[in-house]
Symmetry: C2
Subunit: 229 residues, 2 copies
C-alpha cells in the first residue's frame, strides 16, 4: 500500500516524542486518514495490535519497515545534477530511510568533477559501469525532459527495474520495470484547479456542458491568444 510510508513517518515522529503505544485512532489522526482504513491496512501485514491497548510503536515501525524493504540498503543513482538533482543529493530523508546515493551523473562537462554532498559528479558516459560496479537498484532521473527517455533506456538495459522520474515526460519502459513520476507543476495545477473552484470559476460545478459550447473550428485563433497571453 502507498500509505505505509505515511504511517511510518507518523510513527517515527511519535517515537521521537517517546510514545510507546498508540491507538489506531491517534495514529490515523496523525497520518490524516480514517482509523478503520488504518486498521485494515495494518491487519494486512499481520495482527500486531493489542485489543484494549493499541499498537506498540517500536514493533510497528519494525514491521512496516520490513514490509517496505527498508531494513535493507537500497543503492540509488541520481542522473541529472541541475538544481533538482542537487536538492535530491542533499535530501536527508533518503539516508535515514535506507537509501544510499552512490552516484551523481551529468552530461555537462562543467558540472562533472564538482563535489556535492560528499560525492563527485561523474560523466553520464560511465552510466553502465557505475550501475554494474556499485549495484545500483534504483535510478532517479532529474534530467531535462528531452534527455529523460534515452537515459531511462540505458538505465533499464543495465538491469535497473525501478525508476523515479522527475522529468516532465511519460517514460515508456518494458514490462516488469516500475516507474514513479513526480511532477512539480502538476501539483500546482491541481491546486489552481481547486482554487478556481472556490472562486466560482468556469465549470464551477463541473458541468462544462452548461457552458456556451464554441464549435471547434470557429474563431480558431481567439482562444489561442487567451492561452499564450
Amino acid at each position: 500500500m502507498a500509505r505505509l510510508p505515511v504511517y511510518l513517518r507518523a510513527l517515527h515522529s511519535l517515537q521521537d516524542r517517546g510514545v510507546a503505544t498508540v491507538s489506531s485512532e491517534e495514529l490515523a489522526a496523525a497520518a490524516g486518514v480514517n482509523s478503520a482504513k488504518l486498521r485494515k491496512d495494518l491487519s494486512h501485514l499481520g495482527s500486531y495490535g493489542t485489543r484494549g491497548v493499541g499498537y506498540e510503536v517500536e514493533y510497528l515501525v519494525y514491521q512496516i519497515s520490513r514490509e517496505l524493504g527498508l531494513t535493507q540498503d537500497w543503492v540509488v543513482a541520481i542522473i541529472g545534477v541541475g538544481n533538482l538533482g542537487r536538492a535530491l543529493a542533499g535530501y536527508g530523508g533518503f539516508a535515514s530511510r535506507g537509501f544510499r546515493v552512490a552516484g551523481l551523473l551529468d552530461a555537462d562537462d562543467e558540472i562533472v568533477g564538482e563535489e556535492i554532498s560528499g560525492l563527485t559528479v561523474e560523466h553520464i558516459d560511465r552510466l553502465e559501469d557505475i550501475i554494474a560496479e556499485r549495484g545500483v537498484s534504483i535510478a532517479v532521473i532529474a534530467t531535462p525532459a528531452n534527455a529523460a527517455q534515452p537515459v531511462c533506456d540505458r538505465v533499464v538495459s543495465s538491469g535497473v527495474t525501478s525508476v523515479l522520474n522527475f522529468a516532465p515526460v511519460v517514460l515508456s519502459v518494458p514490462e516488469g520495470v516500475d516507474v514513479r513520476k513526480v511532477d512539480l507543476s502538476i501539483e500546482l495545477q491541481i491546486l489552481a484547479f481547486h482554487e478556481q473552484r472556490k472562486a466560482g470559476g468556469p465549470g464551477g460545478d463541473f458541468d462544462g456542458l452548461a457552458e456556451p459550447k464554441g464549435p471547434p473550428g470557429a474563431t480558431p485563433t481567439q482562444y489561442v491568444e487567451a492561452v499564450e497571453a
Copy 2:
C-alpha cells in the same frame, strides 16, 4: 480530475510538433492511460470532440487550461530557500503554466538578500506583508519539517487557501484550505517496496500472517537494532 494536467502536457507536446487533431487513442497512448478513461474524462468538461475525426488540439488545450484555471495568473510564494526551494524557484514548468513566483522567503540571515532566478530572497518576518501586497494565492512550503506547521499557520491566517507542502509532515489546516503534499522519500519507499516484491522479500504475497509472529513485548530491543543499523 488529477489527470488533466497530464493530458495538457501531452497536448502541448503534440502542439509543438504541429499536430492539429488527435484521436482519443493516440492521446491516451501519449498520456499513458486507457482511451476510454480519457474520453470519459474529457466528456466531463463538455463534448469537444468530433466523431470520426478526433479532438482539435488547440481547442482542447484551451478548454483544459480554462478548466484548470491556467488562463489566469497565479501568484506563488516559495518559503524556505534551501536546495529544494532553489530548485523550485528555477523550475521552468511554473512560469510556462501561468504560475508566477512573486516571493522567496527564508529565516536564515545568510540567505536573505541573495538573488536567485531574478528574485531577491526576503526575510520570513515580512511574510504577511508580502502575501497581502502581492496578492499571493498559493504558498509553497519547502522548509525543514519543524518549521512547516508554524509557517503554514501564518500563511493560512494571511488568507492563503492553497498550500503545496514539500516538508515531511502532515500539515493541519482549517476547513476550506487545500494542502497537497509531495514527499520525495515516500516515492522512493514505494519503489523499494515493489523492488523487494520482485526479489521475493518478506510478505512476498502480502500474507504477513504466514510469518512467525513475534509477540509484541518479546525481545523488545532486537528489532530496533535491525531498523537503526
